[in-house]
């Protein structure tokens, strides 16, 4: 059946295109009339998927908005314990990674196989650097006992140590609310990191396929759609960075 269906598809596709010499790519699926249709469908599907992702993170942003308004002082104090240099460095890393991905799309469209692989590898490496820095940051939170749960410790906010950046003394009940900040910090950056890990996994798969030359003959939809996903993950971070790290960049005022 499949052969017949494919022949019919190709026939119909050629008629619709108006040029009979048109040769279809091997990646074309039998139920599409034309490659254009397949490409547009995949791209629309990807955008819709990103829309669901926005709604997914939207719930978290909603929670953040509410509690930041309610417990502003606690959120400021907790935010001040995050390292702005590390956060800013990671922002730079992620933007560069996104730029490499954009170059990878360009390389795929230009059918430059070598460059495509290089850019994809660079994208992956920068993604891994981001995860490494994130690991350092998380590790510090565990050491300071700023991870929500049984062992959460507020002493640092009630009686700040001298080396803490101009930290104010918070009353105990306010200091307790810092736990909410760290809950949201871990859930939001954790969900973002989970998306990064999935993305890096996909990148490895894409690199293997690019190496085989799958995307060097005009079939670039997977690269394009993955790039959309990767940029989306970037954008989430672009919102997370100011919301979590830069609540009060002039501490002690």
């Amino acid at each position: 059946m499949d052969n017949q269906a494919i022949n019919e598809t190709l026939g119909a596709g050629a008629l619709a295109d108006g040029h009979a010499e048109h040769v279809s790519l091997p990646q074309m699926r039998h139920h599409f009339e034309t490659e254009e249709q397949q490409r547009e469908a995949a791209s629309l599907g990807m955008w819709l998927f990103l829309l669901t992702e926005i709604m997914f993170f939207g719930g978290l942003f909603m929670a953040y908005l509410l509690y930041r308004n309610w417990y502003h002082d606690a959120f400021v104090a907790a935010s001040n314990t995050l390292s702005i240099p590390l956060g800013a460095f990671n922002t730079g890393v992620l933007i560069s990674s996104g730029f490499m991905m954009a170059l990878a799309v360009w390389a795929a469209e230009m059918r430059k196989k070598g460059l495509l692989v290089v850019f994809l590898v660079l994208t992956t490496i920068l993604g891994l650097v981001f995860m490494g820095v994130k690991y350092v940051e998380y590790k510090e939170k565990f050491e300071l006992r700023h991870v929500p749960g049984e062992s959460f410790d507020i002493s640092r906010f009630v009686n700040p140590t001298p080396e803490a950046r101009d930290q104010q003394h918070l009353p105990v009940d306010t200091a307790r609310k810092t736990e909410l900040f760290f809950s949201l910090y871990f859930v939001m950056t954790g969900m973002h990191a989970l998306h990064m890990i999935i993305g890096i996994g996909l990148l490895v798969w894409l690199i293997a396929r690019a190496q085989k030359g799958d995307f060097s003959a005009g079939y670039v939809a997977p690269i394009e759609n993955f790039a959309l996903y990767w940029h989306f993950v970037d954008i989430i971070w672009i919102f997370l960075f100011p919301l979590l790290y830069l609540i009060n960049i002039h501490p002690g005022r």
Partner: protein, 553 residues
Amino acid sequence: MSTIVSLPDQRTATLPKKSYLNNEQGLLSWLLTGDHKRIAILYLISITVFFFIGGAMAGLIRLELLTPQGDLMSSDTYNKLFTMHGVVMVFLFLVPSVPATLGNFFIPMMIGARDLAFPRINLLSWYLYTIAGILMLTTMVLGGVDTGWTFTTPLSTHYVNTHVVTTGLMVFVAGFSSVFTGLNFIVTIHRMRAPGMTWFRMPLFVWAHYAASILMVLGTPVLAITIVLVALERTIGIGVFDPTRGGDPLLFQHLFWFYSHPAVYIMILPGMGVISEVISTFSRKRVFGYSAVAFSSVAIAVFGFFVWAHHMYIMGLSNYSAMVFSLLTMLVAVPSAIKIFNWTATLYKGSITFETPMLYVFGFIGMFTIGGLTGVFLGTMGTDIHLTETYFIVAHFHFVMVGGMLMAFLAGIHFWWPKMTGRMYPEGLSKIAAVITFVGFILTFMPQFVLGYLGMPRRYHAYPPEFQILNVLSTAGATVLGVGYMLPLLYLGWSLKYGAIAGDNPWQATGLEWQTASPPPTENFAKTPVVDYEAYDYERLEEMQKREVTTVG
């Protein structure tokens, strides 16, 4: 009574040699299929299983409520039963019921496509559904869950020891299944339409699914993150919904109902699509006010996102926001009413015949109207405070979900059964089943309106003796209803082998799905159809048939 059914001569008629059913053989060819029609059948089987599991639990609930004392089961067991009844029916039956079966099967056919845009994602969403189903069964075997289907915090996060996380995971996975179905439909409807199939030539079934898909895609992820937060709260205690740590349980309810209110439209809109198709076919008329019905689906989808807080009037919502949400709730009644009025106007001066799907549709219109109007009682702040958390609300949403959606589902299953299987169901028996379902339903849920108005609260396994007579009526009705649901299972199964051969178009319906063989070939159409006519054009159909007769004869 006249009929429009025209079957081929049974002595000579045969099923088509090649169809999607026998194209490939073996279990693997089903489990690894990319064919939307086969996936629809897989879904049909799995949702039927869960419907009867959920139904059995409903039966036990009604049995317990036969007497005022809690004598059949303990209150804990009762709590688990109504919770799992709700979870199974909402997430494993109602949400996927029409879209994943009839929608999956017929949307590509109605718009003249060979398949959905992403066949493999379609299969993936069935597997996700199956995993969710297995998780649900696991929960049941391990001892169940008793939070109510709403997982209200802090009950679900702090006070119960049942399997909230497993059930939460199940809802999460089922949610992804639904997201992928919705995404697939939207892309298919945008990108896969046959030449000439413009937006306003599409059957209203497709419009309804488009609107429902928007809700699936936008609403479900919010539920997903909410469930993740509940699970994290329960496992490591992150405190986002925990008042002792500064969290707000109301935030949970806002996030939960932001999905779960649109979810009721995810459930009902595809059913409304079925109604449009059936009512037009059996009154031989174009649906009155086609574009009004099409846009009212979209309007329901849009308004549906702005009414969620009407579930929370007594939960400590400010009076002003309650007023706004009450007003917005009234607005949703408008597009729903547009649909009901337009369907009624479609019947006016139509050539109405009373085949089984049409009987179910009449049931739908009556019961949806009652369910919808009682929804206005509940949307009004003053009456809601008296009626909420009573049997009135139970009766209200069962009128909409069971009386409305299940009737629509059965209407659709009967209407398209000949197309899906190539065989007719037994007409006489199915008419009896439709009437039994209707009577049983009214008997089950009408008394519950009275019970609720008199103040019987929901979710208790015992009640004061003065409520017994109405509860006995309701339980008796549930028994009748059970018979009404068992009958189709039996005779539809019977018809797979012994039903009359249906032919391509037994109802003389106009949709593209009727212009191919029954059951359809794997590629749906021998060649891509070109559409140069409006939906529901019965005159054109008659004309075509006349021409055929003259050329053959």
